[in-house]
Amino acid sequence: MIELCHVYKCLGKKQVLRDVNMQIKDGTIFGLIGPNGAGKSTLLRLLSGIYRCDGGKILLDQERIFDHQEAKKQILFVSDEPFQFFHASLKDMKDFYAKWYEIDDALYYQYLQMFHLDENKALKNFSKGMKRQAFILLGLSASVRYLLLDEAFDGLDPLMRRHFKHVISQRIAQGSMSVIIASHDLKEMEDLCDSFAMLENGTVRCGGDLQDALAQVHRIQLAFDQEVQREWFKELDVVTMKIKSRVVNLYIRGNVEKAEAYLQTLQPLILEILPVNLEEMFIQEILHDKEEAL
């Protein structure tokens, strides 16, 4: 298990991460989501031991990761801009990785066939999406406990995304790998991840089991026969509220039954409870902060 305890990180003069606490359990697909500049990539670099945290600690099975060979052996990081050597082919990169990580050749060739990639072709001649496929493929072929993918779905077409989600799920099902993905693609993340952390302004806005988190947020549409007053909803834990004359859209947290019981006392003409997806939750959480700031 990876644990982050009160992690702080500055890049230059900017405080990118502040007091980040989270746990990443083995055998899960963990999603890191957040707006641009929230600190997702920085967090992945801290997890892979590239950066050293300015405060707090990052532990893998109670051992520090930074500059710790044994801990780092269990982590493979695929950055958003993977580096390839001059004129290197996928095979060359595989040979390079094989010096440091155990590469499962059978899996490697299986994936190679699945994604129709030529291992002898120079990577510089690959398209952006193909290059990304190549490096994710390498990461998945490695026998590591944690695979860290930064902007994993960037540049992949929908079909390829589906392939990858399938492969990643399959790899997790084998029980030997956990995948930590940072991405803006919330739809894909919702399909793929078991747990997540939403970063905003360098702190964890919310997180935990994805389904539990989604179950805690609800979208409720209400219509009344008179003008709606904001004060009516003070009793509820409202994330965001949109009022249009006699119609109101509410995003609330907490027990939906209790909220429904309370709203019924307001005698709405229509009361409809709708499911919330990750993208909606993300947008509402960010909007909530902005509204509060205003």
């Binding site: 890049l11 230059g12 920085t42 670099r45 892979s48 031991g49 590239i50 950066y51 050293r52 500059d67 710790h68 060979q69 044994e70 780092k72 052996k73 982590i75 493979l76 990081f77 950055s79 801009e81 993977p82 580096f83 050597f85 001059f86 290197a88 060359d92 040979d95 390079f96 010096k99 440091w100 990580y101």
Partner: protein, 517 residues
Amino acid sequence: MEIKNWLKPLFLSDQEKAYAKHYMRTNNRLAIVAALILVLFVMGYIMPSILIHAALSLFGGAPGTTNGEKVASLFISICILAYVLPMYQFRFLMKRSSSDLYLSLPIERKRLFYVHYLIGLLYMASVAVLEYIPVAFYYYGNRIGITIDSTWHAPLYGTSETLITTLLLLVIFLVLGICLYTFFTCFIVRCHTMLDGILICAIYTLLPLIIFYSMGFFLSNISNELLYSVESYHFSYMSPLANILVALTSLPWQMNAWVRLFFEPTITTDYTCMLLGMELLVWLILGVICYRNASNYFVHLKSEDSEQPTKSPLTYPILIPLVTFQLLLIIGKGKLISFMICILFVCYLIAHFFAQRKITIHVRMIAIYGALVLTSSALHHWLVRTNLFAMIYEIPQGDEVELIRLEIIDQNLNYYVSADITNQTVKEDILQAHAQWLPYTTKEQSWNYIQGHITICYLLTNGEYVNRYYLFDEAGITHLQTLVEQWEKEDVIEYLDDGAYHPTQDGDTADPADTAG
């Protein structure tokens, strides 16, 4: 067992070995650099004299040429490799994506540094050994008078002594090269872009030279202010110090001196040997310090800084003020000092803008520049007031003078004397006369009328030279003429130049062959 544990970090683990092999196999560009260096070596072999003389005229050092200087190209190759290899080996730090890849690898940073350092070192050693082979062949053959061009089997007739000599020279050059490579590595790991790496290493390469010459100009300016002699070269009085400075900083001097030590031991003095030993020791200590420093820096380096402006204190923050200070010392106290200080300030700001990669002026920059100007001026005044710690004097003591070489030219009277004086009485006379003619000298070099001048060179008993050059105006010429006529009458001057004109006892000019004593 203890020694074994101590030595353990020097050896690579199986994984590191596998990586090193893979690295060497996949980095074909290193072979291209090797080929280029070999081409350079061949060129150096064809024109070694040009190279060595260019280097010596720039850096100073032991004069003359020897056959041994033909190994200059070997030394130059090692120096080029020492400069280029750290940049190549640690170039991954200068790009964010490559820095991410390397620093995420499951290897301790200290070991990653060591593996890359070692690969560069092995590469340098291999190229040097490859280049050494023709050098060894050359000397092996040359010792028995057969040149390498005449017969390919010449080496077969060489002696084991020559082989050992050249081999030892290779080892010493390699040790110096490794120290230099470590020295550059120490700065390369601090640089966040390749451009900064190239510049910082280049500045550090030239820094000893800049310091040496700026101090030279600075002290010469002070000498000129304190002495009657014009164009005084202060090193004539400070040569032990100056030579040590050259020895410690000038690689061509070291190369030349080492070659002489091995190939022409008869002309190598104990003093040179002492300097060489000291210089080797200094470089070894510097190498060890730089390795430890570079390794520690690498362990703690912030990879997020790659592709950012280089800010390490040992790079621009120290180099810009240091070089500016040296240039301020060169400016001295000339008529255009205010203008020069302004021009230098502009250059200083441009250097800072480049280092920051943005045009922003901080109060600190201006304050530092002001402090540098004040310090250089204060230093100048202080040294003038103390007579450069009493190290500067016009005339040497009589008992320390072994020989006086005198050259007098009075172009107004077509008067020309060139002589060596060893006679003790005459030497004392000249030393006395030296004090007498000082009030008649001038520092104003005039182009309107013809002046006379005396160049006097004292060879001291410690082997050093003291040169003084005096200009005389029209009033001084009469005094000068009297002096020379007096020496002529005493017949104490040994004329050196057959073509010189000088007064006879009758006062006419005559051929020196008739009058030389």
